[in-house]
């Protein structure tokens, strides 16, 4: 997988599950929509895991969106490409970023 599917600023949705994919996506982020804030490329990390995982993005979620108490705070999770899909277009306001 060599194409970079998402750009910084894109809205993405994390899949609920990813059969056959790597296990490194935190449960609170699954099914949630966030914003790509960094692209890390493909990271070789053979001491950590056997296969080379797909390209990695930093995705920022507002804490309110992942069940947290403080709406303004955010959590940034590093999530591999196989777990991500474009966020569906928002109905209100016609926002279509990332779709």
């Amino acid at each position: 997988m060599s194409t970079v599917r998402f750009a910084v600023g894109d809205r993405v949705r994390v899949k609920e599950e990813c059969p056959g994919g790597n296990p490194r996506t935190p449960p609170y982020a699954r099914g949630r929509i966030g914003t790509v804030i960094a692209y890390h490329g493909t990271i070789e990390n053979p001491l950590d895991h056997r296969d080379v995982y797909p390209p990695l993005y930093s995705v920022e979620f507002t804490l309110g969106d992942v069940g947290g108490a403080e709406p303004a705070a955010t959590v940034v999770a590093d999530i591999h490409d196989e777990w991500l899909e474009p966020a569906p277009a928002e109905n209100e306001g016609g926002e279509t970023r990332g779709s």
């Binding site: 296990p23 959590v75 940034v76 590093d78």
Partner: protein
């Protein structure tokens, strides 16, 4: 053990911390590793029994001295146990088997609670809990010794490689992070390279950069306070900065940081993040391991780079506290 945690002021807090961290290392770092190697046939039960005989019975526990001395000795024996685990697991490559870290995460149930080892509780009065922990740590230490001997006997590791690894690990610590931070404070070009290239930049300080994926550096500013966690396990750039403080590995920290980081920081570390400062939590997921670049305290303009490094605390590298002015 770490300063700054309000619990650390009293005996109860110290013993509570030893129990929590001992359970973490027992249930996550060593017992699953032994089970995994048995499961894979890397070692056999008979190797462990032989190792047990060679190691002799667990060393008797020194129980004299006042409470404070015993607690200090308990903490030292835990530190020594942690070092022994690191020596035989961290960065060690077996001769005939490839066992990346994630295999151990699966074995210990990070992705499937059914695999998690039962946790023990330590009850009774303070002295009785201390005695239970003294025995428990000695027993685990014995298991580590038997396990290590088994691997040597099987030709999976050599004594020389273990000794080299022990030396390597003892040279790694938060002090590396303190030097990195101090350099970034005095040299803006270095700071830029650090944030852009991570591990590559630390070579400039003659610090071994480590090999566990990419290093992420989150810079604190007047407007943003960064704090690091690993909610899935306890990833940290430990191959560069050493092990993080013990509370980093606790479930309490991992859970509360996502639900209410501001309140968690105030209640666990006694620091109120200025209300106008936005909090950003960085969740390390193994391929990028994060450290925080804390803010340089005021009134430090006259300090040398080395003096600045002395101000940096392990807590500040995670983002749990700010560095107070000297």
């Amino acid at each position: 053990m770490s300063a700054g945690h309000p619990h650390m002021q009293d005996f109860e807090g110290h013993v509570e911390a030893v129990a929590a961290d001992y359970e973490y290392f027992r249930r996550k770092r060593i017992e699953p590793r032994v089970l995994l190697y048995l499961r894979r046939g890397i070692i056999g039960w008979s190797d462990l029994f032989t190792g047990h005989e060679q190691a002799g019975p667990p060393s008797p526990v020194e129980t004299s001295g006042d409470l404070e001395a015993r607690i200090r000795a308990l903490e030292d024996s835990l530190d020594e146990m942690v070092r022994a685990i690191g020596t035989v697991t961290a960065g060690i490559r077996l001769a005939n088997h490839d066992v990346p870290i994630d295999d151990n995460r699966r074995e210990r149930g990070d992705y499937n609670p059914e695999f998690r080892l039962a946790s023990r509780t330590y009850e009774g009065d303070l002295e009785s809990r201390i005695a239970q922990l003294e025995t428990a740590i000695a027993e685990t230490r014995h298991l580590i010794d038997a396990f290590t001997r088994a691997l040597v006997e099987r030709g999976e590791v050599t004594e020389a490689a273990l000794e080299e690894n022990r030396k390597r690990l003892s040279s790694i610590g938060y002090r590396n992070g303190a030097r990195i931070v101090a350099r970034a404070w005095v040299d803006p070009d270095f700071k830029r390279r650090l944030i852009e290239t991570g591990r590559e930049a630390v070579r400039e300080l003659d610090i071994p950069p480590g090999r566990l994926g990419k290093l992420g550096v989150a810079e604190n500013t007047e407007d943003i306070h960064n704090i690091v966690v690993c909610t899935l396990c306890s990833c940290y750039p430990h191959d560069l900065l050493g092990d993080p403080p013990w509370w980093y590995r606790t479930d309490e920290y991992k859970q509360r940081i996502i639900s209410d980081p501001r309140k968690m920081i105030e209640e666990m570390f006694g620091w109120r993040v200025p209300p106008e400062r936005r909090i950003v939590v960085h969740d390390s997921t193994s391929d990028v391991r994060w450290m925080v670049l804390p803010r340089r305290p005021e009134g430090t303009e006259h300090l040398s780079e080395e003096e600045l490094a002395d101000l940096v605390t392990p807590e500040s590298l995670v983002g749990a506290m700010e560095i107070p002015p000297p």
